[in-house]
Symmetry: C2
Subunit: 320 residues, 2 copies
């Protein structure tokens, strides 16, 4: 049931499922990007999750990692542990999985299925022109910090499902796909090659993930909370909720990236071409201490004090 999905005409998949290994053609002008993610029931998704959405999301989070380096998808392997054979569940899971696999021309090339507690482990492959991959380590002082799309709707959906706050059914309907079927920014990632200095995808929350760029680039950052792009629905919440969900909510799978100021016109042009908002949210600063830090500026232009910053950073909890 899992062995379907299309490959494009120029596919580099020489051999897919059915032998000891899959085979990919290599070309000397490219590098191969590889990423692995494991999703476990109860930890990354609820027991009663819609299997179609789960199949979609399991590959989406891996494609998001490929996008963050600017890679073009080539294929993926799937290792799946299932508590019992359930044809309906597997059919729905496969539908979601192959919907996104076909959408991004990323065929299933190998895998393993076994009995066990529901666990999904995907390894995805992509190609990047030689020496062009967007690493986390390239951010430079005075670079702009950018983010794609809007932030916080996945966390807002989670809050509604947990009854932490109340959202009308139609409103929830309008944002819940952000949590269940995030859109990997594959086209954006490839457009950013040669334009940006560093990038990553936001899976654990903007501030926590940005810290990875700062650590690897040995720089600090200043973030303008008022500039964080939010959906109309999130803008209806209190400012505290807005800041918390947009700055620290996980599962958004937007890209956060840095670029020289002279790239602003080019990035605005890419935003128009892709019909995708790209928003400048801050600036890379020289590192002041032995560890990187983020200065948060509120909507009145005031620097948040240590306690307020720490409180905001603690708010991330990803199904804790």
């Amino acid at each position: 049931m899992l062995a379907r999905g299309k490959s494009d005409a120029g596919s580099r998949v020489l051999l897919g499922i059915g032998d000891d290994c899959a085979l990919l053609k290599e070309t000397s002008g490219e590098e191969l990007a590889i990423t692995s993610d494991m999703l476990v029931e109860g930890r990354h998704f609820f027991k009663d999750v819609d299997p179609r959405s789960l199949g979609y999301k399991a590959l989406a989070v891996n494609l998001s990692d490929l996008a963050a380096m600017g890679a073009k998808p080539l294929g993926f392997t799937l290792a799946l542990a299932l508590p019992h054979a359930d044809g309906h569940w597997l059919e729905a899971f496969s539908q979601g999985l192959f919907e996104i696999a076909n959408q991004y021309t990323c065929p299933l090339i190998g895998g393993d299925t076994t009995a066990g507690p529901l666990t999904i482990s995907i390894t995805a492959f992509g190609s990047i022109p030689k020496e062009k991959a967007i690493r986390r380590s390239g951010a430079k002082v005075q670079d702009d910090i950018w983010v794609s799309g809007t932030l916080g709707d996945a966390r807002l959906t989670l809050a509604a499902l947990r009854h932490e706050l109340t959202i009308s059914a139609p409103d929830l309907q309008s944002i819940q796909m952000r949590m269940h079927q995030p859109e990997p920014r594959i086209t954006l990632g490839q457009s950013l090659l040669g334009v940006t200095s560093a990038a990553l995808d936001i899976s654990d929350g903007l501030l926590g993930d940005l810290m990875h760029i700062l650590e690897q680039s040995h720089v600090d950052a200043e973030i303008l909370l008022g500039k964080l792009p939010k959906s109309g629905l999130l803008l209806q919440q209190s400012e505290a909720i807005q800041n918390q969900f947009a700055a620290c909510g996980g599962d958004d799978y937007e890209l956060c990236f840095t670029a020289k100021q002279e790239q602003r016109d080019r990035l605005n042009q890419i935003s128009q071409e892709l019909s995708l908002p790209l928003t400048r949210i801050g600036t890379i600063k020289a590192m002041r201490n032995s560890k990187p830090s983020i200065d948060l500026i509120d909507s009145t232009g005031q620097l948040l004090n240590k306690d307020a910053t720490a409180s905001l950073l603690r708010s991330f909890d990803h199904f804790a």
Copy 2:
């Protein structure tokens, strides 16, 4: 704790752990082999398994798949779900994992760890000269069928641990590494490039795995049960046990391969060079029906009847 292990000087790993993806250098003269295996507690190993052996075996079974195609290891990713943080367990697991990773110069290049029921998912990568990979589909009528090493000791160990039969402690000691730390036939696999017509590794038992070659090559096979290579300890068991464990016992991770008769001298030479027995155990035959079949010949030269063959084939049970 997991981020260690050595890479050789000519490594093609451009970027390892710590970014959104790992990066492998590509070269136009090679193909990339990719294999994934998932091991789940209670299904593939016992709850009280020695974590050092488990770490070793988790990578060994993937390297065995690379070996079966003739690939040279390049690196691997690990996705690991652990029920709780246990420093001693993880240290021992890592010891076993990196012992074999270093032995075969196969560095850890990426991964994911999460809370969850104990599950180990590894994807391993290897390189093969262009168009040289040994596939399952190349067996031809009149080819010899060969097997490396000896068969059945992993199953004999399992039988002793399950008290299905009695083996003295020193005897068990002498064979149990076959089950706990199987040796992937990496060097043999590379030596077989250009010599063999088809190959695979024996994980589920010789006859069941050989059937995969037959299906993909559209041929039948004749196997001489008396020729199956067995350890001295297995030879002490009844002939029924010998046949069952050698022909259908899983977890041996030897290679089964086919080759033209004119390759016999070359294969005997490889056997001497590697100090590894390579044994001719049968012949590829033309397919008689719509599905492939295996004729089993007993040690007196008699063809086993259908019932005896079916009974032998049913005996595989892999922790059922």
